[in-house]
């Protein structure tokens, strides 16, 4: 199976493909509307010299744009989640539950919290599918 460097366009494409191919996701996410911006704060000690901005867009079980982008684009997302690299890595590897990370202030969320919490199954499924992408993390290189 191909491996992909985290936070690259290829990695996002592989993640998008996993989501798009999941019938279970389509069913779980049929109510979800809107884009999610992900911001990973810079951490030069972990080989993240600058902040990383990702734009991911979901619509009633379908997936639309998945882009490595700039700050301006990420700010257009309906929800924006921000966190340090170490937190994102923990979430992506399912070592840290995303809802718990939000509640404990380990990740920040801009947007309607209640919407996110009531669609937590969608979020968990998206993360489950990310764990299926063979990822090379910047600090593991």
């Amino acid at each position: 199976m191909a491996t992909h460097k985290a936070f690259t366009q290829e990695w996002l494409d592989a993640w998008k493909q996993k989501i798009a191919g999941s019938q279970e996701y389509k069913e779980i996410a049929k109510e979800w509307e809107g884009s999610v911006g992900l911001i990973c704060n810079a951490d030069p000690s972990k080989n993240i010299p600058n902040p990383v901005y990702l734009f991911t867009d979901y619509w009633h079980g379908d997936v639309r744009d998945f882009l490595v982008c700039d700050e301006t684009k990420v700010q257009t997302a309906k929800f924006i989640m921000t966190g340090d690299y170490a937190r994102w890595k923990q979430v992506a590897k399912k070592e840290l539950d995303a809802t718990k990370a939000l509640m404990q202030g380990k990740l920040k969320l801009k947007g309607d919290l209640t919407y996110v919490v009531r669609n937590v199954k969608t979020i968990n499924k998206v993360i489950d599918l990310l764990t299926e992408v063979q990822t090379v993390w910047p600090d593991d290189v």
């Binding site: 920040k108 947007g111 919490v117 009531r118």
Partner: protein
């Protein structure tokens, strides 16, 4: 009731508590000074003013009170917050003092954000978006139930969106809460009972949340003990300041418990029936609590049963060595008995709720954020509807 190896939690409870009869007048000035503040705007509502609860406090502040904003309705909104912030800014406030219940306290929390950050409140919808401490806020609660004096969550209605928005900011936790039981002496019996059951629900649901943790559990268990012992005394003798104080402390501890561990199915169902049939929050929590406990125990999970057995001990209806299953069921029975003892409604139909209402509410409940924290996984709306039917 042990915790598994994967336990990982953050406990947060930065609010200083000043408790004592007469503390709302006796301690306020020194707390304000300790925070380096000298220009307070008091946020309250017309009901509090009419009841005469704020008069002495404002008088005590003298010139340190630069204004009173009393235009807070029962369910606050962004427009109210904007008006309050403009008023406080105009008066040059360097601290906000809220005197009241949940709506007043939430309004004050949001005013603090606008005073420090400016802009529109809608920009702060979400979790932990702030990066610095906000305008100091001292809370003086006049009810004993919501726990808002120690939580960092504010709920306000956004007219443009047609929904309530949540602002969760640890930088905006009140700096101090002054708990003066004298301020709760005038609460009528039904309000005492329903706010008390709101606190009891916070405590029990915090313990049966997927995010439960040991410090929140400790707070919750002691809150349950105090509420169980003293809520009936408050109903019987509303002027009993000792009992009022115990219940007030319990509500604050339950606030810390659920502020950290969250709430579950009871709140999901209470929010929903409140939205559909306008049942007051505390009352709907009280009615739904034993039915949801029974539902959770029905799962048969040993861990769940052990938690309810510990709750039974705190309620005083079980001993440490009792068989856990029987103890858990004794806890449910005791909540029913407590409701009867304090004259709390037992059925939703007493509030005029109909079958049609509960069908609508079951739909809403399943989409309520609180349900995801419930210790028993709720599989669908039919399960919720069945619980509502039992409580109807």
């Amino acid at each position: 009731m042990a915790y598994d190896d994967s336990l990982s939690f953050v406990y947060f409870g930065p609010t200083k508590i000043i408790f004592g009869s007469g503390s709302s007048t006796g301690e306020l000035e020194s707390e304000m000074s300790a925070l380096g503040c000298s220009r307070a705007v008091v946020v309250t509502d017309q009901g509090i003013i009419k009841a005469g609860l704020s008069e002495k406090i404002i008088k005590t502040l003298g010139e340190k009170c630069v204004g009173v904003f009393s235009d807070v309705p029962q369910d606050t909104g962004i427009d109210v917050v904007n008006r309050g912030a403009a008023f406080a800014r105009e008066k040059g406030a360097d601290i906000i003092i809220s005197i009241g219940g949940g709506s007043v306290i939430d309004t004050a929390k949001c005013i603090c954000i606008l005073l420090t950050e400016g802009g529109s409140l809608a920009n702060y919808e979400g979790i932990q978006l702030l990066t610095r401490p906000q305008t100091p806020h001292i809370v003086i609660p006049t009810t004993a139930g919501t726990g808002s004096e120690v939580t960092w969550i504010a709920v306000v209605y956004d007219k443009d969106k047609g929904q309530k928005i949540l602002i969760v900011e640890s930088y905006n936790a009140p700096r101090a809460a002054i708990l003066d039981p004298q301020l709760t002496l005038g609460l009528p019996p039904l309000l005492t009972a329903s706010t008390g059951m709101d606190a009891m629900t916070h405590a029990i649901e915090a313990m049966t949340s997927m995010q439960r943790e040991p410090i929140a559990d400790a707070m919750a268990l002691h809150a349950i003990r105090l509420l169980s012992d003293y809520l009936p005394v408050c109903i019987k003798d509303g002027g009993n300041i000792r009992a009022r104080g115990q219940v007030q402390m319990a509500a604050t501890m339950a606030g810390w418990a659920f502020g950290n561990a969250m709430v579950g199915l009871v709140h999901a169902m209470a929010h929903s029936i409140g939205a559909v049939a306008r049942v007051p929050h505390g009352v709907s929590c009280g009615i739904m609590l034993p039915y949801c406990m029974d539902y959770n125990i029905g799962d048969g999970e040993p861990e769940t049963i052990a938690i309810y057995a510990a709750i039974a001990q705190a309620l005083g209806v079980s001993k440490r060595d009792d068989e856990p299953g029987s103890a858990a069921m004794a806890a449910v029975q005791e909540i029913f008995d407590l409701l009867r003892k304090i004259g709390h409604p037992l059925k939703l139909s007493e509030l005029g709720v109909t079958e049609e209402d509960i069908i609508k509410a079951a739909d809403l409940s399943i989409a309520d954020g609180a349900i995801v924290n419930n210790i028993r996984y709720v599989t669908g709306k039919d399960e919720v509807l069945e619980i509502y039917r039992r409580a109807l």
